[in-house]
């Protein structure tokens, strides 16, 4: 009985939230909520790669881009195709998953830092191609991107009509997908596959010796994470109505990574928390400008560089002071503290000197 009450309470809060926000702070903030939900999905996707499997991906935004451009190409005047969203979203997710496997296949056997650089390079390559594939044939629309993307339609009901309610309609759509993403993440974490990911993260050699095909399982993490990204990309394209390479920069990848790290790698609730915090933070910082103005009479620190400054600082501080994240799962905390202790105490359990 208590559980049902709790559930009902959460449901009620989530249902009322957009309207309350809209009334209290205006529609811009509801839009911010919508984006926060998209980031939740992205962070959960990256969490599978970084948090569950322990692979550092610095180019995650590339999968977001693939999903978004898939949608843009299949539902806009660009090619004259107007497929419905329930066909395109899976296509986008699938395409992103394929890209994930293409990237992962040759690179997942590299050690951690190399993998990080390669994924970073991949993310940049995707962005460079998106920027330049408008000649000789206009595929991606180049720097201008693709415009006039169809909004998401459920039957004859378009989420963009009436325009005054768009942000609310999309809120509930995104909420649905975000909840589904969280649900899938939880299921995966406590499954046979989730255990295999954890084993690889702990000790890849031992995992392999116990019969886990580490290459395939890592590839699976990459592909799943990528497809979550692709799914969010499709939703983003339908929401914004417009995509361009500018939305898919390295900064975005790093921000999503920050969300996962800050929230606690591998901890689903923490990651959701991190995503919401970091997507709302930049907006909150907008008030800093006028605040500085009134306090100091001028802008001391440009708000957008302040935002990035805080990101950088927070990454450093979290790693130094609270490496398990601001809201870590108990298991992860153990893991990160363990490394410090065992290395100091020369515990022979960790190193295999036999080879």
């Amino acid at each position: 009985m208590k559980k049902t009450l709790k559930f009902a309470a959460y449901a009620a809060i989530l249902a009322i939230l957009p309207f309350a926000t809209g009334l209290a702070f205006g529609k811009t903030w509801v839009r911010i909520l919508d984006f926060a939900l998209l980031y939740v999905m992205l962070a959960l996707g990256l969490n599978i790669v970084v948090g569950f499997a322990g692979l550092l991906d610095l180019g995650y935004v590339a999968f977001f881009a693939v999903g978004a451009y898939c949608y843009a190409l299949l539902a806009s005047p660009h090619f004259g195709l107007h497929l419905p969203f329930w066909i395109i979203l899976p296509i986008g997710a699938f395409a992103a998953g394929i890209f994930g496997m293409l990237l992962g296949a040759p690179t997942l056997r590299l050690r951690g830092d190399y993998l990080a650089i390669v994924t970073l390079g991949f993310g940049e390559i995707i962005r460079i191609f998106l920027n330049n594939l408008d000649t000789p044939y206009n595929i991606t629309g180049g720097p201008q991107g693709i415009d006039l993307i169809d909004p998401i339609r459920l039957g004859s009901f378009s989420l963009n009509q009436p325009t005054s309610h768009t942000v609310y309609s999309y809120y509930f759509l995104f909420l649905l997908f975000a909840l589904a993403t969280a649900f899938v993440s939880m299921r995966l974490q406590h499954s046979r596959i989730g255990r295999a990911w954890a084993a690889i993260r702990e000790d890849e050699i031992a995992a392999e010796a116990m019969g886990i095909n580490t290459r395939n399982i890592k590839l699976l993490a990459f592909a799943m994470g990528a497809s979550f990204g692709g799914l969010s990309g499709g939703l983003f394209a339908g929401f914004e109505g417009f995509v361009s390479p500018e939305s898919f920069t390295l900064t975005e990848s790093i921000m999503i990574l920050s969300m996962v790290v800050l929230g606690g790698m591998g901890h689903i609730r923490g990651v959701i928390f991190g995503a919401i915090l970091l997507s709302i933070l930049p907006e909150a910082l907008r008030y800093v400008g006028p605040l500085e103005q009134s306090l100091f009479g001028r802008i001391v620190v440009d708000p957008s560089s302040l935002r990035m400054l805080l990101f950088g600082l927070s990454l450093i501080l979290v790693m130094l002071l609270r490496p398990a994240g601001l809201w870590p799962s108990p298991a992860r905390k153990r893991e990160l503290l363990a490394h410090g202790e065992t290395a100091k105490h020369e515990n022979a359990n960790i190193y295999d000197a036999g080879r």
Binding site: F122, E124, M308
Partner: protein, 307 residues
Amino acid sequence: MDTFLQQLINGIVLGSIYSLVALGYTLVYGIMGLINFAHGDIVMVGAMVTLTVARLLADSGLPGPVILGIGVLTAIPACMAVGYLVERIAYRPLRNAPRLAPLITAIGVSILLQNLAMMIWGREYLSFPQIFPAQTMAVGGASISTIQFLIIVSSAIMMAGLSRLIRKTRLGNAMRATAQNPEIATLMGVHVNTIISITFVLGSALAAVAGMMVSAYYGIAHYDMGFILGLKAFTAAVLGGIGNIEGAMLGGLLLGIIESMGAGYLGTLTGGVMGSNYQDAFAFFVLILVLVFRPSGLLGERVGERP
């Protein structure tokens, strides 16, 4: 043939710069097993400081090379200080943390440095004052400018000096010992922490000089320039074999030449489909190719026994 030679010269110049930066990456990776993401941004600091000094002295009547010299002599301590602080504050506490942690911190440091630079110097591209006469020497159908010449010569000198340092001095021995096996090095009386700091500082000094070269050569500097340059230099280090000093030098030169040739000929090769705007993607392609087909690099990697 003229274009070929010209591109080759350009490539060597570019490669010399890459080599200097790659050395920083390779020294740090060899001794700590860490990719110092922020290294490219230290190059940026060097570039900015040199440029600022050059602008201040541009009308003083001093000859070009002297201004540059003063600029570099200011940049070197600045970069060394930054490198030292970064190592002490952000990397040293994480020596025993799982691999992911210092990587993430390094990203944070990089972001921090870039944004501090943006706050100090602003967002715009800053231009390097014209302090060199636009002289060129003719070399077999191509031309080489004063700056290009200076870059090639000073890089060569510095690399020779570094080589000698690593090979023939006590400090160099200590550095190599620490890179191979820090635990045993400690037992042999090496102050590992000090050696690591020195390595960082050395790499930063090289970065300062590279920064000076980049800003003087291209005539511009901005807060964002460290990132791509750093990535390319890292590619060069991996290409030659990470942890391997000669590898960094070779890798740098090779990458510079590949990139220069590529930029020159890519258009003709692909029938106009891909132009030099794909130039940056080049380095990434090379990186991926190297890591997939020959991850230990051309000359083999030199990393110690590390858990």
